[in-house]
């Protein structure tokens, strides 16, 4: 994988993936914690 592709991945795709994680956790834990 070329460096420029890796750069785009960590600067654009990685932050979006991390932002998606708490949203998934929010949905997943919703039913768990309210029980």
């Amino acid at each position: 994988m070329s460096e420029s592709v890796a750069f785009v991945l960590v600067m654009l795709v990685l932050p979006l993936a991390i932002l998606a994680t708490p949203l998934l956790l929010y949905v997943w834990t919703g039913s768990r914690w309210k029980g």
Binding site: S4, M11, I18, L19, P22, Y26
Partner: protein, 441 residues
């Protein structure tokens, strides 16, 4: 940037802080819970921003941008480490702390440990509270010194006057408004910080001829995100997990209006961390193109001024003034939180729960005592900062890292197990119940 714009921005910022301090006074005067954790009624959005900003503070502007300037895109792995760690703390640790805190009427981290480990005599309280008081006071002194230096460098105020001014501003709103004032000023600071960090690359990159031109002037290794991967990740995870061990972060967990709101706070906190920190990395990397061939920024210390230099060069004067004010406020936000931690350790843990155990003290009297302690600790910290010897601060940092880190390393597993232990409603003691399993029943 002219001094007028800087002074105007600082004046406006200072006015906002004063208004918040005065506004929160009446509420904070009702009792210890109101003064130290906002009576568990702080909105989730404010808790999210306050927890993130208290953990990051001025480091995003200086340390992180400098790291990206020196090591390029690898710096993102540091962010990945602490962002994920803090997010998991919000979802799986903070909620337990908040629920336990409400069930057992805990106001401080010492309260939680004492309740969890059934400390009826008060030895544990003394063992935890006394080191907190000593080392946090020393740490506050270092913050006053740092704030004084920032004020002296950017606004031309004389050294000792700058220390007094820093301490005076912090004292004013912390003494009056307590936790509520500290949290709301943190939230406003978070908005200033994110605005500056998003706006700067938007103005900077086109001014340099676009991203294609910036890339041409980067060091070849800056584009390689895998240059330092494992080390950055481990360092970031350590930083993130450590934030849940800080008494002032635990106070934020305890302060939220409802425990379930910490899930929302986890989403907002992560959003803020990601946007602020990725922008700071982008700014640091772009700095390589702007300052290409600049040898004066080669050292670690000098590289940490990159973002401030770019702020002054590319942001409009008034906004740049606000960034400087936000940087100063970031230093203040650490000191104000520490002041409340020291005061709560003395008043709640030592006076109310050990010295006057079994005696009913009025809430108004305890708040008055808390305010006196805040005043006294501020005076003690100013006295330490006044002497200002560099070696003294080196000693403080060393002591803080060693003893503070050691104490936290000792208590963190207890806290984590204590909040995860299924049968937490019943008291458990590691020495008394040797045959009882730590986890699971």
């Amino acid at each position: 940037m002219s001094l007028d714009a800087k002074a105007l921005a600082f004046g406006a910022y200072f006015l906002i802080i004063l208004v918040i301090g005065v506004w929160a006074t009446r509420f904070s005067s009702r009792g210890v819970s109101e003064y130290f954790i906002g009576a568990r009624s702080v909105p989730r959005f404010v808790v999210a921003l306050s927890a993130v900003v208290s953990g990051r503070s001025a480091w995003v502007f200086t340390g992180l941008a400098g790291l990206a300037y020196r090591d390029g895109a690898s710096a993102v792995w540091y962010i990945v480490g602490f962002t994920i760690a803090e997010m998991l703390l919000f979802f799986f640790f903070a909620i337990r702390v908040r629920r336990f805190g409400e069930a057992r009427d805990c106001v401080t981290v010492t309260d939680i440990l004492a309740a969890r480990l059934d400390d009826r005599v008060g030895r544990l309280r003394v063992a935890v509270a006394v080191p907190i008081v000593i080392f946090y006071t020393a740490y506050i002194a270092a913050q006053f010194d740092a704030g004084g230096k920032a004020l002296a460098q950017n606004y031309g105020v004389e050294g000792h006057t700058a220390i007094i001014a820093t301490a005076g501003i912090i004292l004013f709103y912390t003494l009056l408004g307590g936790f509520l004032a500290v949290s709301y000023t943190d939230a406003i600071q978070a908005v200033f910080m994110i605005s500056a960090l998003v706006l700067l690359p938007i103005l900077l990159i086109p001014a340099e001829g676009g991203w294609a031109v910036v890339v041409q002037h980067l060091n070849p290794s800056a584009m390689d995100p895998m240059k330092i991967f494992i080390g950055m990740m481990i360092g970031g995870i350590g930083l993130g997990l450590g934030s849940g061990g800080n008494p002032h972060i635990v106070a934020r967990y305890l302060s939220i209006r409802d425990a379930d709101g910490l899930r929302f706070a986890g989403v907002i906190g992560t959003l803020w961390n990601v946007v602020m920190c990725w922008c700071a990395v982008l700014i640091g990397i772009s700095g390589q193109a702007v300052f290409r061939g600049e040898t004066t920024l080669a050292t670690k210390q000098a590289s940490e001024t990159v973002l401030l230099q770019l702020t002054q060069a590319y942001l409009p004067p008034l906004l740049a003034g606000f960034v400087l004010a936000a940087l100063f406020a970031a230093i203040m936000s650490t000191a104000d939180s520490q002041l409340l931690v020291v005061a709560s350790s003395i008043v709640r843990d030592l006076v109310q729960r050990v010295i006057f155990k079994g005696t009913e003290l009025s809430q108004r009297m305890l708040v008055m005592l808390s305010r006196l302690v805040v005043l006294g600790v501020t005076a003690a910290a100013v006295a330490v900062a006044w002497r200002g010897a560099e070696s003294l601060h080196a000693l403080i940092v060393l002591a803080w890292s060693g003893v503070g880190g050691g104490a936290r390393a000792a208590t963190d597993p207890l806290r984590l197990l204590g909040t995860s232990y299924r049968n937490w409603r019943h008291s458990w003691h590691p020495l008394r119940d040797r045959n009882r399993p730590l986890l699971g029943h």
